[in-house]
Symmetry: C2
Amino acid sequence: MSMARPRSTQAHEKVLNAALELFAERGIETTSMDAIAQASGVSKATIYNHWTDKEALLLEAMLMIHGLDREPEDVDTGDIQRDLTTVLTRKPPDKCDAVRNRLTPSLIAYSAFHPEFGREWRHRVTEPPRQCIKRILRRGISRGQFPADLDIESAVALLLGPMLYAHIFNKEDPSRKPDLGPISAANFWRAHSQNRKDRVAEQGIKKPTPRSKER
Amino acid sequence: MSMARPRSTQAHEKVLNAALELFAERGIETTSMDAIAQASGVSKATIYNHWTDKEALLLEAMLMIHGLDREPEDVDTGDIQRDLTTVLTRKPPDKCDAVRNRLTPSLIAYSAFHPEFGREWRHRVTEPPRQCIKRILRRGISRGQFPADLDIESAVALLLGPMLYAHIFNKEDPSRKPDLGPISAANFWRAHSQNRKDRVAEQGIKKPTPRSKER
DNA sequence: AAACTGAACTGAACCGTTCAGTATTGTTTT
DNA sequence: AAAACAATACTGAACGGTTCAGTTCAGTTT
């Protein structure tokens, strides 16, 4: 009934940290449990006492590093453009950020070949910021600042894609690393904002300015 | 001096094809040479006669599938917008395309942890289309259709990023899979085109830039 | 004569399990 | 309060069974 000795949270965290570091440095599939045990200083037997699987460990490690920064997810200053920029520029604490970024390529591949894990990753990690952006976009539409027929799903890709791209392809090239967050936001804003100075109508329903957006 | 029996190009290609298929289906690191031998119908001894390494095989397979579509890399119809859209929409033959797309996540991860291979991948595969886009952008700048201070590197990320993003994150969600090529091109065009009268009403975030500056 | 096959083989790594011994905790008794 | 106890966690090392990259080789085909 009474647990005589509680699990050492110290050991638990040491393992998680070591696992994250190794996953980020050498990749998920190529990091062995023995390596994690050795790096963490926790015996492998104990690791398998805390987690059933390598995948279970990976899952908790991933949720841990992506859950450390539970910021107020929503942003609404009234200025849609500013909100967009804020969300795209938002970054986790420096320490996390490095690990998270180095982890991304592995997660992309691992998720591609482990659909279950992939769903979890997208659902728990990549979806929240997406939702945040979607809310802002919908607000923009209802305020008439974006066209009513804006495809939100495509818009999210337009906003976030450039950052992902830069992260993957400009990694080795230190010459080209401007922060794409504000750039991408500005790019999108200039392309879709209907807030021209001759049009100040704020009420949402307006005649859609005929955009030859095809289709 | 003269080889009594030439290497079977048939075997060579069977191995390459089988390797590509397996790499795409199960990932690079988790595909064994034995599996490739069995799937190709070529004995493992022969495979190691044709390639020194698993990595050598991977490299040639990658170059093969990305070299099959040597199209006229350059596009210049005079209409910058059309050229951009064309390049972003351009696709390899259907057969290749499926394999290439499924291969991408693995290549991202493998390149992240094998810098040498990564350089080769970027240089031989991802760089050519980038260069093509850059040429178009420079042409647009020199013709005054884009602002002279446009950061080309960021612009490429703005154009290609959304497609990469959609490819990675919208894979499992069949509801939203519009072709982002034209959308991304239109998005960029609307944000940066300077000499269209449908955009002059935009409030001047950008100052009227001076004439073309050579780079 | 060289390329092929099929099969065996090496050496190393891997995951996950087991186990005897030890350390650390909560509980009970003195 | 101190000592004894019971229950559990941890260690370190080993082990089984598998998988892998790469090699070797006797025999077959071209």
